[in-house]
Structures are given as structure tokens and as C-alpha cells.
Symmetry: C2
Subunit: 187 residues, 2 copies
């Protein structure tokens, strides 16, 4: 109950940041969505930087949990790799939104240090997961697959960005398919 507003702020801030970035986050709109005054948000988060870092932290934690669940429920690594792009697809399906990490990567120059750290962790856990799954798929070590894991992460991010710029989720699907044809992603 007492933490309801805190959670609601985190959720609203996540949605807003995926659509308008860190610089587009503003406490007045957030307060309106949550149903409290903007000043009240400072009771839960001492500054915008703190809120941004909390949102980014929660974002990679949720993603990490989801990736682990996927791997647990579907131990076949090839299937996991095939389904990985669905993660980014869902943001597009949800109001043509971008990965939080991508948007904030663009905003690198204006990001408070703690926020930078958290979005780097998002990339780190994604790449680590991809490396692990690639390794399981081809019987080598995760270290040997780090380069391809990073390439997949970067390429999928780029596909999402391009699709967003046209508000065209079909373009995303086409790009992912092209990555498979080219051999960047396993068919």
C-alpha cells in the first residue's frame, strides 16, 4: 500500500523514458499519471538522477529475470536464440517504444553517472546471456562467443531503432529475418 506509489512511479517513468528518453522524463507528467503532485515524487526519489537510475536498474533486473526464465523453461539454446528478438519486438508493439538502454545510450552525454552504469549493466547482462546460449548451441565457451553476442545485441538494437523511426513493426521483423539470412543470427 505505502509502496504502491513508488512502484507506480517506477512503472510510469519506465514507459515515459522508453518513449521520450531520460531528458523527456518530467515529474509533473509523472505525478499526473500516478495521481500525486510532482513534489510528492521527491519523497520516494530524492532526485531525477536517482529515479532514472532506479528505473534503469529495475529494467535490467526484469530483463535478466525474464531471460533466465526463458532459458529454464526452454533449455534448447537454438529456440532461445530464435526467441531473443521477441524481447525488443514487444517494446515496439507497446506503443512503438524503444529499449530503455538504447534511448539512454543516445543520451549518453547528458546522463548522470549512476544512470550510465545501470544501462551498461543492461547491455552486459544481455550480452552475457547471449554468449552463454550461443556457447550451449555450438559447444564452445561463452568467452569464444562474446564477439558474436555483442554483434547480435547491437544489430537487434539497430533494427528496433530503425523500425521505430517508421513506426513499422513489420520492418523490424524483416530486418531480423535478414540477419538470419546473412548468418548473424542462427536460422
Amino acid at each position: 500500500m505505502s509502496s504502491n506509489h513508488r512502484e507506480a512511479i517506477l512503472a510510469a517513468a519506465k514507459d515515459a523514458a522508453q518513449a521520450r528518453g531520460y531528458s523527456g522524463l518530467n515529474f509533473r507528467d509523472l505525478g499526473e499519471v500516478v495521481g500525486i503532485k510532482s513534489a510528492s515524487i521527491y519523497y520516494h526519489f530524492p532526485s531525477k538522477a536517482d529515479l532514472g537510475a532506479a528505473v534503469a536498474r529495475r529494467y535490467w533486473q526484469d530483463t535478466a529475470a525474464e531471460l533466465e526464465t526463458m532459458l529454464a523453461e526452454m533449455p534448447d539454446p537454438a529456440s532461445c536464440l530464435r526467441r531473443y528478438p521477441e524481447l525488443f519486438r514487444r517494446s515496439l508493439a507497446n506503443g512503438n517504444r524503444l529499449c530503455l538502454c538504447s534511448f539512454m545510450s543516445a543520451e549518453f552525454d547528458d546522463l548522470p553517472e549512476p544512470v550510465k552504469t545501470e544501462i551498461q549493466t543492461f547491455a552486459d547482462i544481455s550480452v552475457a546471456w547471449l554468449g552463454k546460449v550461443l556457447a550451449a548451441a555450438n559447444g564452445s565457451s561463452p568467452e569464444d562467443n562474446q564477439a558474436q553476442a555483442r554483434a547480435i545485441f547491437a544489430a537487434v538494437s539497430g533494427a528496433q531503432l530503425m523500425a521505430r523511426s517508421r513506426a513499422d513493426i513489420g520492418l523490424y521483423d524483416t530486418l531480423i529475418e535478414s540477419y538470419r539470412v546473412a548468418g548473424l543470427l542462427p536460422a
Copy 2:
């Protein structure tokens, strides 16, 4: 003389937008760089939207010219493809900046319609050029290479974005190399 300020504004705005995006563009800073008051900028560009569109238009025009020059000076399509990523590399080398089109793609929701149009043209001319060069390289038609051309554009954009988030141009080079290994880019 009279157009000096106009050109200086365009140049300063381009640099700023590649570092802080359209939303990060601000007339006070721009005026300071150019040496006039922020209000004076409105004489040259009736609104921020107009300035943004003008910057984006100039950006794709310059890029289109550069790509055509490259193709004219180095008719070997394989060499052109090998050098294509240098375009994005240069933005990173220039103060860890992002492609204007990428930043504004992230900002899609808050972009005035004319700005959207111009950055889509940037993607269009890039993809068209890549399709043309790919076709010349493998003896088919540009249409048959559209999918791969778009995939290359998206992937290279993603690599630049990821490298920016670490301020690590070496990561960009590694990612491009991984694309080559995977077969997305010709070796």
C-alpha cells in the same frame, strides 16, 4: 556575409543534435556558439522545427554527396562496402557523436512531421546506395539487395549506438569486424 550566420547556425545545430538530440537543441547555446542572441536565430529559422528540418535535410544531402563521391572515385563496389562503416566511425571520432538520424529516430515521438520526413530520407538514400553497391558487387539488381542493404544500415547504426554508450570507438571496430565474420558485411 548575410548568410554566414545562417550557415554557422546550421553547423552548430548539427553538432549539438548529434550529441544531445533534437530535444537537446537549444537556442541559447546555439546563439552563444554563433555569437548572436538566441532570439536572433528566429530570424533565420522561424521555429525550432524549421531549424531541425533544415539541419536534417543538409545532413542527408551532405551524406548523399559524399557517398556518390566515394563511388565515383572508387568504382570497385567491394571497396566501397568495406569503407561504408567509416562514415559512422567518423561521428564517434568527432566527440563520440551519434548519427543525427539515429538520435532523432529515438526521439520519434517528439519530432515535428517535417523533421521525421528528412531523417527518413537519410535512411532512404543510405539504403539505396548500399543496395546499388551490393548489386554491383554480386551482379544482381538493387531491388534484390534491398533487404540486405537495410540490414547493414540498421546493424551499423546499432554498433555506433552501443559504442557511444561506452565512449569506446574500439568497440565499434570490433562490432563491424564481427558483422564481417558473420557474413552480414562482405569481408
